[in-house]
C-alpha cells in the first residue's frame, strides 16, 4: 500500500520518507520469513543509508516533481500485460513454504547438514557467504568498491571550497538532537563491532556490520558537522581503507594459493581444516566490513560536500 502512495504522490520529499518506511516494513517481512541476516541489512541500508543519500540528492536538485505529460495508458497497458504474464507463469510454481519445492532439493540440504562440521560456523548464511560462495562475495565487494570510486569521481568536481559556510546536511544547530545522538553513537559503533565479530554464531557479518558502522559515523556527521567527520576521514584515508578491505579479501585467496590449495580454499590456512575455515571466514568478513564501511562513508561525504546549486 505504501508503494502505491509512492507512485501517486508528487512531493518527492514525502516519497523518500515513505520509501524509508517501506524498507522497514520489508525488513519485518524478511524476519517473518526466517531471513534474519537479510532483514538486518535491509533495515540498516534501506531505512538508513539510502534514505540519506536520496535526500541529499533532493537537496541538490529539486523537491517538487513536474506533472508528467506522458500518456498514462501505454505504460499502464504494458504493466498490466507483463503482470498478467507473470501471474500465468506462477501457476506452475510450487506452493508457498512447501518443503518439497525444487529449490530445497539441490545444494541447500548439503549446506545445512555439512556446513557446521566443515567450517565450525553455526550460522549457515555466513558459512555459505564467506566460504562456499566466496567467489561471488568477492565479486560483490569489488562492485561496491567500484561504485564508491565512481561516486567520488563524479562528485569531486563540485566539491565546495573550505571557506564556503553552510552545509546542507548540517543539523548541529539542534541541541537536543545533538546530545541524544552523541549518547547513541558509541553504542551504535559497539553494536557494529558485535555484529562483525559475532556473525559466525548469530545473525550478522561483514556487510551488516559495515553499514551499521557507517550509519554511526553518518549520524555523527549529521549532528556534529560534516567538517568534523571529514577531518577524521580524509579522501586518501577512505580510498586506502576501501582498497585495503578488498585487498585483504583477495590476499586471503592468494595465501591459500601459495599454501598449495585452490584460490579461497581456507582448509590449508591451518593444520586443522575446521580451524582454517574459521580463520578464512573471519578474515574475509573483516575485509568485507572494512570496504563496505569506507565506501558508505565516502559516498555520504561526497554527497554532502557538493556545492548547492545557485
Amino acid at each position: 500500500m505504501v508503494a502505491i502512495a509512492v507512485a501517486v504522490m508528487r512531493d518527492l520529499f514525502a516519497i523518500v520518507m515513505l520509501f524509508g518506511i517501506y524498507s522497514l516494513l520489508t525488513a519485518g517481512i524478511f524476519v517473518s520469513l526466517d531471513a534474519v541476516d537479510v532483514a538486518f541489512t535491509e533495515a540498516a541500508v534501506g531505512a538508513g543509508i539510502s534514505t540519506i543519500l536520496i535526500l541529499s540528492t533532493l537537496a541538490l536538485t529539486s523537491r517538487e516533481e513536474k506533472k508528467s505529460t506522458h500518456s498514462r495508458f501505454l505504460p499502464l497497458l504494458v504493466v498490466l500485460v507483463t503482470g498478467a504474464t507473470l501471474v500465468y507463469g506462477t501457476l506452475d510454481m510450487p506452493a508457498f513454504s512447501d518443503p518439497q519445492a525444487p529449490v530445497h532439493q539441490h545444494v541447500a540440504p548439503r549446506y545445512l547438514d555439512q556446513a557446521q562440521q566443515e567450517t565450525g560456523v553455526p550460522n549457515i548464511v555466513t558459512a555459505v557467504l564467506a566460504s562456499y560462495r566466496s567467489y561471488d562475495t568477492m565479486g560483490e565487494v569489488t562492485v561496491i568498491f567500484t561504485a564508491g570510486i565512481a561516486v567520488m569521481l563524479l562528485l569531486s568536481a563540485f566539491r565546495h571550497r573550505e571557506d564556503e559556510a553552510g552545509n546542507l546536511n548540517d543539523l548541529s544547530h539542534h541541541p537536543v538532537l545533538k546530545y541524544v545522538a552523541r549518547l547513541m553513537i558509541p553504542f551504535i559503533l559497539l553494536f557494529a563491532l558485535y555484529v562483525q565479530f559475532h556473525g559466525d554464531y548469530g545473525p550478522g557479518g561483514g556487510f551488516q556490520a559495515g553499514v551499521i558502522f557507517a550509519a554511526g559515523f553518518i549520524l555523527y556527521g549529521l549532528v556534529v558537522g560534516i567538517d568534523k567527520t571529514r577531518s577524521m576521514f580524509s579522501d586518501s584515508v577512505l580510498r586506502w581503507l576501501m582498497a585495503s578491505g578488498l585487498l585483504l579479501y583477495i590476499g586471503v585467496g592468494v595465501v591459500t594459493l601459495l599454501l598449495g590449495g585452490e584460490f579461497l580454499n581456507y582448509n590449508v590456512l591451518a593444520a586443522d581444516q575446521v580451524k582454517g575455515q574459521h580463520w578464512g571466514i573471519f578474515l574475509v568478513e573483516l575485509g568485507v566490513g572494512i570496504t563496505v564501511t569506507a565506501t558508505m562513508i565516502a559516498m555520504f561525504l561526497a554527497f554532502s560536500e557538493v556545492r548547492r546549486p545557485e
Partner: protein, 118 residues
C-alpha cells in the same frame, strides 16, 4: 481458492514489481524513476526470500537438537544484493546530480527538449 492460498506470495511480489515498473516507465522525474527501480528490486528480494521459506522452519543458524531450517542460499544471494543495490543507487544519484548541473533539470522531457534544440 487453494491456488490462491498456495501462490499468494508470488502474486504480492508481482503486484509490487509492477508498481515499480510503472513508476520507471511512466514517470519523468529521474529521482522517482530510481525509487521505482528500488521498489522493483525489493520485490525481487521478497520473491527470493519467500522461496527459501520452509513450513515450520526457523532461521538457518544451527542449534542443538532437531530442527528444520529455511533455505540459507537465497538469504546469501539477497544479502549481498541489498548492499550492491545501495551502492548502485548512490551511483545513480551521483549521475543525477551531474545531469542537474549540466541541464539544470532532472525531468526527462526537459532534457530531451534541450537535446533536440542543440
Amino acid at each position: 481458492m487453494s491456488t490462491f492460498i498456495d501462490l499468494y506470495n508470488y502474486w504480492i511480489f508481482i503486484f509490487l514489481m509492477m508498481i515499480g515498473f510503472y513508476i520507471v516507465i511512466a514517470q519523468g522525474n529521474l529521482v522517482k524513476k530510481i525509487i521505482g527501480l528500488n521498489i522493483f528490486q525489493t520485490a525481487v528480494f521478497l520473491l527470493y526470500i519467500s522461496m527459501g521459506k520452509v513450513k515450520g522452519g526457523t532461521a538457518p543458524i544451527i542449534v542443538a537438537g532437531d530442527a528444520s531450517y529455511s533455505n540459507p542460499l537465497p538469504h546469501v544471494l539477497i544479502l549481498t544484493a541489498i548492499v550492491v543495490g545501495v551502492a548502485t543507487t548512490a551511483l545513480a544519484m551521483a549521475l543525477i546530480i551531474r545531469i542537474r548541473k549540466a541541464y539544470g533539470t532532472i525531468e526527462e522531457q526537459d532534457i530531451h527538449e534541450q537535446d533536440a534544440s542543440l
